[in-house]
Symmetry: C2
Subunit: 292 residues, 2 copies
């Protein structure tokens, strides 16, 4: 069994991994091969001690090189759920694999795009966050896919392999995905509506008219980079969408720690790195105190 | 009046200064021109995200360059006391100057050398931490000076200007201070003794004998780089020598924040940088909420 499973490869997750490695702990680091699109897209970072006015891209490259030097690799499977058992945690991925750890560090980041109206209400009833989990349910159907990041375009491909027709609503710049059964819609989605199940996506009306524009669909996929902590870990205490932690980065679940933006403001790289460091030390102390 | 006074130029203080500067706040940063002898002396730092296996010296140089680029200078006067008034703080330096700030960030580091027996007991009665404050009291007298850092050698010079005879006990490598009335003693001090006032410094006995060796003196100066938070700020809540803070780096004194090693373990650069960042955001919010 691993000492720790880290979920997230932003600065909090990377900082935790570097410190766990230095402390001789075993772990799996789940995240993206580009680490963090938030860092990558940052134009200039002005207040990270030690790196003067660095671009996000250069910072990402420095972090990738540092992980490679420390022989830390990133598992790019997407974490679908974290389950707290008696004295361990089981992490399941969307790819269907399971991993076991004595502890977990949640470094999930924060979703800057708020849920649209109806999104939470119809979740599991025509609304899904997970292409690989639920894609097959829409074989031969018509779906809308709201995608928030270029890094998630492979999930659109997965969905286009099942659905008859995909309406793609890209919420990022530089989208380049193309497939015969995928039609792009460059409008702002504001609401998911339906009766027992979601059956339409509603767009904001242009300023000149007052009639919202509706798109009839069999289902809506919301592809996001960050995962809501409460949706990922059953029983986790959150407040205003943030994981509640103490000064040692302990959550309400014994052995489950959290760090970075998911624990609350300020949403800052330096703060996230510091919290990842503290969480790694708490994991180290936890493992020492809970030896078999 | 300044928005903030930062006491300490280790990673917590530097991080706070960079963020306050980015946030457009006014502040004075008190510290050492070499920033932090702890960082400077570090052989290699393995787990600071973004800087792979950097030496302490290279890290210090990068931080100095970053401060210069951000047009942040360090005030090298030594802070002698921080006084919480109704809605502001007054900071006094050993040089006799005063500074006023709406808020204070304590980034004091931690004294890794524990007090020796009798040190706290005789403080103010023959034991002093402050050469410039108390040196004149020992004009023509015999004193012992226990010095913990090369950066403090100028204080020995100050004392040697008053005292008739100085016994110097250097607790660091590479000491090079010389003066006609200064005699070096390369022994380990273990106790300060006396009656109403301290009048002798006791050294550890060599393994071959059991008799401690005593040095009769009129006073003992303990020159240390870090200052005990409770000794510096009256009314500050501490626990086991650490400043008690919440997740926003608030101390028990309104408008007084703390960050870095002085708030407790782990004593880590990344953690200190993160806490300095959070403290700076708390100061920014505090100033916005307490506008005149």
């Amino acid at each position: 069994m691993l000492d720790c499973i880290i979920v997230g490869s932003g600065l909090a997750g990377i900082s935790a991994a570097l410190t766990l490695q230095a402390n001789g702990k075993t772990f799996e680091l789940f995240g993206s091969s580009e680490l963090s699109s938030k860092i990558y897209r940052a134009e200039k970072i002005h207040n990270y001690p030690g790196l003067s006015d660095i671009s996000g891209e250069a910072f990402c490259n420095a972090l990738k090189a540092q992980l490679a030097e420390a022989k830390i690799s990133i598992n790019t499977q997407k974490v679908a759920g974290v389950y707290a058992l008696k004295d361990k945690f089981t992490v399941m991925t969307q790819e269907g694999n399971t991993f076991e750890g004595k502890t977990v560090i949640l470094a999930l980041g924060v979703e800057t795009i708020k849920p649209i109206q109806g999104e939470t209400e119809f979740l599991g009833r025509g609304v899904s966050y997970c292409a690989t989990c639920d894609g097959f349910l829409y074989k031969g159907k018509t779906i809308a896919v709201v995608c928030t990041s270029k890094a998630l375009e492979h999930e659109i491909a997965h969905l286009a392999g099942f659905a008859e027709k995909v309406y793609l609503i890209p919420m990022y710049k530089g989208e380049s995905f193309q497939a015969p059964n995928v039609e792009k819609i460059m409008k702002m989605p504001v609401k998911i509506d339906g009766e027992r199940k979601a059956n339409k996506l509603v767009f904001a009306a242009p300023p000149s008219e007052n009639i919202p524009q509706e798109l009839p669909v069999d289902g809506v996929f919301m592809l996001k980079e960050s995962i809501s902590p409460a949706a990922l870990v059953a029983g986790l205490e959150t407040k205003d969408g943030h994981v509640v932690v103490d000064r040692g980065m302990n959550t309400n679940l014994k052995g489950c720690f959290a760090a970075g933006d998911c624990t609350g403001r300020p949403y800052q790289y330096t703060k996230a790195a510091g919290e990842g460091n503290v969480a790694a030390y708490s994991v180290t102390a936890y493992c020492a105190a809970n030896k078999e």
